[in-house]
Amino acid sequence: MADSNTPKPSSSVKLVLLGEAAVGKSSLVLRFVNNDFQENKEPTIGAAFLTQKCNLPTRTIKFEIWDTAGQERFASLAPMYYRNAQAALVVYDLTKPTSLIKAKHWVAELQRQASPGIVIALVGNKLDLTSDGAGSGGDADGAGAEDSGDARKVTTEEAKTYAEEEGLLFFETSAKTGYNVTEVFTAIANAIPETSLKTARGPGASHTAGRTEEQRVNLNGPRDPNAKEGCAC
């Protein structure tokens, strides 16, 4: 078990997921935390709080994840969750163009209102519904890909260009197949500046300190063998 290793420096990172309803935020978290997927997941009400460890070569990051509800009526509560967050995952559904517009709104709001150093990742989810599927990560294949069961409506190019302009991490994922999911979280963990780890702990983070760190490790199933990176959770 991973936790039996000699302890590495460990720190908590508060992470928030934002995005339109039904883009797959909860599914991404479920995949990351329990390596599981549910075909008909019910909408989140309010927000869910979960934790998951991510082992990097030099340190351990304990994510404190806020999975928020995408429905409009909960939008006013969002500041409570992204305040003090060191990382944000802004999710859209790459089969639904409006969800990218919504994602851009979230990015703008985070840049205006959240902590200045926040690490933001833009994530296009449901890659399994496109013809490039969970394959090589998909090059932009233009707008003509409507046929042959390809439901992609947002090209990789478009989202990637936007992400670069705004200085965001960018991934296309499938919570269903697990493709690229761990990678998103590992990339975020790596992108958090060492300095911010020393100081920036959310006001509530200390409250959870009493819980044993290894709880998650024992209780989760084996990792998806496809997961390449080092999140030993």
């Binding site: 479920l30 075909e39 009400i45 309010g46 509530g204």
Partner: protein, 634 residues
């Protein structure tokens, strides 16, 4: 044979039906309804005079040997509840005896008639009785009904199936029409808001018709409350700008259907709050409410389905608690109180949908209708359970305050995601899957192992920033409960399930009961045993899902009929005994309790009365274990 002898010697047993020794009513406690309660769970108050003694005199005052049924309001619902299987005549049906068994031929079972069952001649041995006697008394309720000959409930096992999207409209409409229960919500301007079955495009035109009918009566200042069409009863409730419609072929009374509609309205208020709802329609009467209600649909549907399956909690307007020793409950309350956060308004521990412990401020109690909404959200719908981890949910508890939101912290112990329970998890069976779709079809009242073991801590605060405070409280509480061993106590009590009749009253010929403590607004019930296994203890195979669903619904239909008769407007009933072709049932209301039970069709009235008496004495004895009396107050 022994059983029969026992029954004989107790032939006048009804006169021995005395209430448990009178005692001062327990102190008023949470959670309780407002006396004037407008809660969805409201039921007509029992018409009993304030006495705790039910003597034979009480019973004889209820006799209507001349069949004076006119006294009773003939409830419109009776047309619906009359079973379709006409032409059936019981063997005793044509005995011209003043015993009213005659009136129980299944073709005649309106609520008023049930009353005459308690008819006089308690000591008389009628030919009818003798005939009944000669039959086996061990026949279980509903045993005579074979699957495939479902009568009223034909097709009920498909009641909760989705209407497929990809078939022709006429087929979809036919499926839609085959549903036994519909709930619809529309705005007074005629905009559809919610329908349990069929997407709104399918039912749009029906909504239009309903709106036209309701508006017509509204315009005439004579609001339409309900009507019957064919074998379906329509009940309408108007709440401000919203119309609620229930359509039922399951035979509930208007009052019962109305309280179900009330619960749906409470769910809408819980999402929006009353001022918001009013505002929306004040500004634009033609607003489409579906957008602001987004995500509430699944909560409305799980509420609706629990009514359709039959919810004792809703029927009785009461809560069910986990049975625990008094000292254990007290210890849990104290641990709970000790870990209390300043930010806390209400704290609840719930196991398998049953209340374990409550703490609350002295000046506030919890209302069953609010708890019903919370329990529905947590245990019936998948939205929170399937999220994993901890949840932070804004919601309005309308009976507490319909003008603002509270914030609810929820954490499930499932032995998997919590360090405090790693030790316990080792002894757990493999974890249940969080498959929310199969949960939709699972039966609420069943002793489902997965459901029984779900333990949740619910902490409610008016402060939306208090998540971390409440989380800290929960961690403290969880650690303490684990350390003191109370958590495993709760878990094993939950696993034990509901009390079995044979433990409560060994040898009693009763198959199932509901007991409501009126002062505590709480109830308890026995576990539902597979019909054939009950008394013979024969190890019958577990009934399959649909069969369980049907058994439960039949039982609940019977209870709804009994309840409706007891609470009918002009029925001053205290005791009611009814026999139908497939079951005998008994209801008994005093100022202390409401009691309902069911037995096989051939069990004598005396035997039932005797069994009932023993169960009630047990409930009296066990009162402080079965019910939360007071809870932790701060």
């Amino acid at each position: 044979m022994a059983r029969q002898a026992e029954a004989e010697t107790n032939d006048d047993g009804a006169s021995k039906v005395t209430s448990p020794s009178p005692s001062p009513p327990p102190p008023p406690l949470p959670p309780r309804r407002k006396p004037s309660g407008e809660g969805p769970a409201q039921v007509a108050p029992a018409q009993a005079k304030p006495t705790t003694a039910v003597s034979s005199i009480d019973i004889s005052t209820l006799s209507f040997p001349d069949g004076s049924r006119g006294t009773f309001s003939t409830n419109a619902a009776q047309a619906v509840s009359a079973p379709a299987a006409s032409g059936y005549v019981t063997p005793v049906g044509d005995l011209a005896d003043s015993m009213s068994i005659m009136s129980f031929a299944p073709t005649l079972r309106p609520h008023g008639d049930l009353a005459s069952l308690v008819a006089g001649g308690l000591n008389r041995k009628s030919r009818a009785w003798n005939m009944l006697r000669s039959q086996s008394e061990t026949v279980q309720p509903f045993e005579s009904i074979e699957l495939g000959a479902l009568g009223d409930l034909a097709g009920f096992e498909r009641e909760f199936d989705e209407i497929p999207d990809n078939t022709a409209d006429d087929i979809r409409l036919a499926i839609w029409k085959s549903k036994m229960k519909h709930y619809m919500i529309l705005s007074s301007a005629g905009k559809p808001i919610y329908s349990r079955h069929g997407d709104l495009s399918l039912v749009n035109s029906y909504m239009g018709i309903i709106q036209t009918i309701i508006s017509f009566y509204e315009g005439a200042n004579n609001p339409l409350l309900g009507f019957t069409a064919g074998n379906a009863r329509f009940v309408i409730a108007i709440e401000g700008p919203l119309y609620f419609v229930a359509i039922s072929r399951l035979g509930e009374s208007d009052a019962q259907l109305r309280s179900q509609l009330e619960a749906l309205y409470m769910q809408i208020l819980s999402t929006l709050t009353l001022p918001t709802l009013k505002n929306i329609f004040a500004h634009r009467p033609s607003t489409d409410l579906r957008k602001p209600l987004e995500g509430t649909e699944s909560l409305l549907s799980s509420l609706a389905d629990s009514f359709t399956k039959g919810s004792p909690s809703t029927l009785l307007g009461a809560l069910e608690c986990l049975r625990l020793r008094k000292s254990q409950r007290l210890a849990i309350n104290n641990i709970f109180l000790k870990s209390r956060s300043e930010k806390l308004l209400y704290g609840l521990i719930v196991a398998g949908g049953k209340l374990v412990s409550v703490i609350r401020p002295r000046k506030h109690s919890l209302h069953p209708s609010d708890l019903q909404l919370i329990f529905n959200m947590l245990f019936e719908s998948g939205s929170i359970k399937s999220g994993g981890g901890e949840s932070w949910v804004p919601l309005c508890l309308p009976a507490f305050n319909n003008r603002g939101y509270l914030y609810m912290y929820v954490s499930f112990f499932d032995g998997r995601t919590d360090a405090a329970f790693v030790g316990e998890a080792a002894q757990q069976s493999p974890e249940s899957s969080h498959d929310s779709t199969s949960e939709n079809n699972s039966e609420r009242a069943s002793n489902n192992v997965e459901d029984e073991e779900e333990i949740a801590i619910i902490l409610i605060s008016p402060d939306k920033e208090s998540f971390y405070d409440l989380k800290e409280m929960r961690d403290k509480l969880a650690a303490q409960l684990t350390k003191s061993g109370h958590l495993s106590l709760i878990r094993s009590a939950a696993r034990e399930g509901r009390p079995k009749i044979q433990t409560v009253a060994p040898g009693a010929q009763i198959s199932h009961f509901l007991y409501k403590s009126r002062a505590n607004v709480q109830f308890c019930m026995s576990s539902v045993e597979p019909a054939s296994a009950a008394q013979t203890a024969a190890a019958a195979p577990e009934p399959s899902g649909p069969e369980k669903l049907l058994t439960h619904r039949r039982l609940m239909t019977l209870y709804h009929e009994l309840h409706a008769s007891m609470h009918a407007k002009y029925a001053h009933l205290k005791v009611l005994h009814a026999v139908s072709e497939d079951a005998a049932s008994l209801a008994w209301i005093t100022p202390i309790f409401e009691f309902y039970c069911v037995a096989g069709p051939n069990v004598s009235r005396a035997a039932m009365a005797q069994g009932a008496n023993r169960i009630i004495q047990w409930a009296k004895r066990e009162e402080e274990r079965l019910f939360i009396i007071g809870g932790g107050v701060f």
